[in-house]
């Protein structure tokens, strides 16, 4: 074991965090979910945040946070320091939550919202880094599949509601149902398993990407399954060739960026979403003759 004197940042996670563009927007969560996953993946945004300064802070601190290194004593960027920095900035710029929304999830200064932002940023960036390892051709020789399962405890998990302080189980099969709706297969013992490159991982995610948490505040995620286990479960046939498994829905290895991934057909956007998007992306982005959103700078 060795303590490294020179920092070894989590390069794939940092690349994801740095490859994004600020997208100030007045859209709420529902509106943002209408944007394609391609756009959401390469933009730094938060529902109804129009201040570029706030997004810039989230962008900068996320890259530092996911690097996982400390430049010096007391200088490690943790989710808690991102939250503290954000709340300090909001005080400096005189941020005011919308009337009647103070202290709610729509109030950026609320702990709940600020911590949610830090949490999602960390899990998406580090999740992207983990994903790069999972779909690495050599890694998939050993771990060609994964189990979708609970990785973190939650006080009130999805499918459970609190009524007068008491936990009431509403749907204990919430994630099983969602997995099946996303096209996932259920194996013996109710286990939710799929190949690492299976499209179900993106389909089960609220964010439409095959990495990161499947939803806000979710404790579910992937647990790699070895080749022998995957064969025993019937996920892969004995003697199947890894080259065939890896071809399935493989994504490009490089970190996504706005410049090279925005090729979405304009038709998928509602007019108000497209107008908001173009307004915030600036003049470098226009709708070309073929009806695609194109970078013209």
């Amino acid at each position: 074991m060795q303590l490294l004197s020179s920092p070894q940042p989590f390069a794939d996670a940092v690349a994801w965090a740095k490859g994004r563009t600020l997208l100030p927007t007045s859209l709420n969560t529902t509106g943002l979910e209408k944007l394609s996953a391609d756009i959401r993946e390469v933009a730094v945004f938060s529902a109804e945040v129009t201040h570029a300064e706030i997004l810039q802070l989230i962008y900068d601190r996320t890259a530092k946070m996911v690097a996982g290194v400390s430049p010096g004593p007391g200088q490690y960027t943790s989710p808690a320091s991102l939250v503290a920095d954000l709340r300090e900035l909001l005080d400096q710029i005189g941020y005011q939550a919308a009337e009647g929304k103070e202290g709610t999830i729509q109030d950026l200064r609320s702990w709940k919202r600020a911590e949610l932002i830090a949490d999602v940023q960390l899990r998406m960036a580090a999740g992207y880094g983990q994903y790069q390892r999972w779909v690495d051709p050599t890694s998939m020789l050993l771990y060609p599949a994964a189990e979708f399962t609970r990785l973190e405890w939650r006080r009130v998990p999805r499918g459970t509601v609190m009524i007068k302080g008491l936990e009431h189980v509403d749907n204990p099969r919430y994630w099983h149902d969602r997995w099946i709706e996303a096209g996932g297969q259920v194996y013996a013992g109710g286990r939710l398993l799929a190949l690492m490159t299976d499209p179900v991982w993106a389909a089960v995610s609220r964010f439409g990407v095959p990495y990161g948490p499947p939803d806000f505040n979710s404790g579910w995620g992937r647990k790699p399954v070895s080749r022998v286990q995957a064969t025993a479960w019937g996920l892969i046939a004995k003697g199947s060739k890894v080259a065939d498994e890896q071809q399935q829905n493989a994504r490009p290895a490089e970190a996504p960026s706005l410049a090279n991934t925005v090729k979405a057909a304009v038709g998928q956007f509602a007019p108000e979403i497209l107008a908001a998007l173009l307004k915030h992306l600036g003049r470098a982005w226009q709708v070309d003759a073929a009806g695609n959103l194109a970078h013209v700078a």
Binding site: L3, Q8, G68, P73, S78, A80, A84, L141, P224
Partner: protein, 201 residues
Amino acid sequence: MSSLSLQFSLAGDSARPAIQGLAARIGGRQAHELLAAALLRKVQEHFQERDQTPNRNRFPNRSHFWSKLALGTHATATDSEAIVTMPYPVAQKYYGGVIKPGPGKKALAIPVNAAAYGRLARGFKGLKLVRSGKGSNRSAVLVAIGEAKNGQKRAVGEVMFILVKQVVQKADPHTLPSDSALLSAAYEELNANAEAILEAL
């Protein structure tokens, strides 16, 4: 202090024949990438297991410190080594040591209230510094002042943080499994899968 890294090589005698056979077939680089993948999995499993235990203060809210360490752990390989690198807090926990305030700061704020757990004092607005005692018994706390409620003449304060000059963190050898236990678990995984991997090539 920087990140903590585990570096292992398949060149040692402890690698089993099936793994040596695998390495001979696929080459050193790819064999060490496989070892790195197995080691990464074992380290992440260890952190995820530790995340199942409640925090020491038994606060109901959880920061999922260990789970986030698992998420931030990554691996790479060279022709001769498998390398697993963990985020900075792993090194701090494993080796322990004196934690002092960062640049421009005079004290560390230690949360003593569930509402402060996993949060930094500077993220709170309007905390009041309260000092008491003298000499070596002198102490300082940061108090959140609530609003006076019906029937109360004065607002009630709640201690959120205590301020200290430094903290001496004990080394925690259980932060990670031992090198030999980790390597053994990774070899076991590789050995069990070596034949299936060769069939899949």
